[in-house]
């Protein structure tokens, strides 16, 4: 799936640039993006280190497992293959809460921690497990209660009511979340990709 998308993005870009007679744009874009990607990762190092450090404290204090047990009934349905007191559950909850609060830079490290915990439970290492796919479905469609960045931009351009869009955002993300979770459930149960893992 991703192989095809990746190739399509690259190939169509190069073909279009060639037809338009400016192939050199491709060279520049590719080299710049490669440099930019490393820059993004370097910027992430500090933030990741900070949050994973804090999270280690929370883990040792038993807070992560505590979080997991509060939402146990819901999580057990969404992630049937993950033991309900597993630290993976706690990391998933932290990631989704950070997403909901619009704390993007805290959400990423928590999400990666959740992935690592899910990978520990994964039987076929290079392939995504069903639990990982469900987590991704939740994560990419997660409701944001406080879209802080966009409110900030609206404020900067002197909107009469910067927060009027919050309700609409919640409605639209709820729709997206319902579709994502249902589709994920369907794939897990009925597709050739499904199965126990």
């Amino acid at each position: 799936m991703l192989n095809i998308i990746w190739l399509l993005l690259l190939a169509s870009g190069i073909v279009v640039a060639a037809i338009n007679g400016n192939v050199e744009v491709v060279t520049e874009a590719a080299l710049e993006a490669a440099k930019g990607a490393v820059q993004v990762c370097f910027d992430l190092i500090g933030i990741m280190a900070l949050w994973l450090g804090i999270m280690k404290i929370a883990e040792k204090a038993g807070m992560i497992q505590g979080l997991a047990s509060i939402l146990k009934p819901l999580l057990r349905r969404l992630f049937p293959s993950v033991p309900s007191n597993d630290p993976a559950m706690g990391a998933i909850i932290l990631n989704l809460s950070a997403n909901m609060l619009g704390l993007g830079n805290a959400a990423t490290p928590f999400g990666m921690k959740a992935m690592q915990e899910l990978q520990r439970l994964n039987h076929d290492k290079p392939e995504a497990s069903a639990a990982m796919c469900t987590f991704m479905a939740l994560n990419t469609s997660c409701i944001t209660l406080i879209p802080a960045t966009i409110i900030g931009i609206r404020l900067a351009f002197l909107s009469a009511n910067p927060t009027e869009i919050v309700g609409a955002c919640i409605f639209a993300t709820s729709c997206a979340m319902i579709i994502a979770v249902s589709l994920d459930y369907w794939f897990r149960k009925h597709s050739r990709w499904g199965g126990k893992n």
Binding site: K56, I57, T163, W193
Partner: protein, 178 residues
């Protein structure tokens, strides 16, 4: 009122987390500083590990965008936008949103600067930006950090969520703000 609540929560969330977690840990007898360093070390390796995945994805997206191929895709989708009752000006944002977070934010900001945040276009751009996620970035980074190479159906679910989010944004904005 709502604005005050929201800004207060987002201002206090991180300082409170940074205070309460170590404090609680200390009370539970955790060696807080040593645990912090132990966890932070993992952060370093995780960030380094995603570099190859991110380079691959960002190069492909950047070539697609800079070459003008994305403009053709936007052109091809134009009739579809008219059919769902959305102004065509927001189409580049809709296409960019799952591919690049910073790119989409740039487009949304530009739309609000040109049309004003309280115009239909400005509101729709705000809702779209606040609704869908950078699916490709999230999948690349999260799966990359643990070395997953086969994403199975996660791409389809993520993109379906993006399309649903887009349609729902158009619907609710037409309903509320027209």
């Amino acid at each position: 009122m709502l604005l005050t609540v929201l800004t207060t929560v987002s201002r206090w969330a991180i300082p409170l987390l940074l205070l309460l977690i170590p404090l609680y840990g200390f009370c539970k007898g955790v060696a807080v500083y040593e645990s912090f360093v132990e966890g932070a070390e993992e952060g370093f390796y995780t960030a380094i590990k995603i570099i190859p995945f991110l380079v691959g994805m960002m190069v492909a997206i950047s070539v697609f965008r800079a070459s003008g191929a994305m403009d053709y895709l936007v052109g091809a989708l134009r009739p579809f936008m008219a059919a769902i009752g959305a102004p065509p000006e927001v189409l580049p944002l809709a296409v960019m949103r799952p591919l690049s977070g910073s790119g989409a934010l740039g487009l949304a900001t530009e739309l609000m600067r040109v049309y004003g945040p309280d115009s239909m276009i400005g509101r729709l751009a705000s809702v779209m930006q606040g609704t869908t996620d950078t699916t490709f970035f999230v999948l690349t980074v999260y799966f990359g950090s643990v070395g997953i190479k086969r994403f199975k159906y996660a791409v389809i679910t993520g993109l379906s969520a993006d399309i649903t989010g887009l349609l729902a944004s158009v619907y609710i904005c037409n309903l509320l703000f027209k």
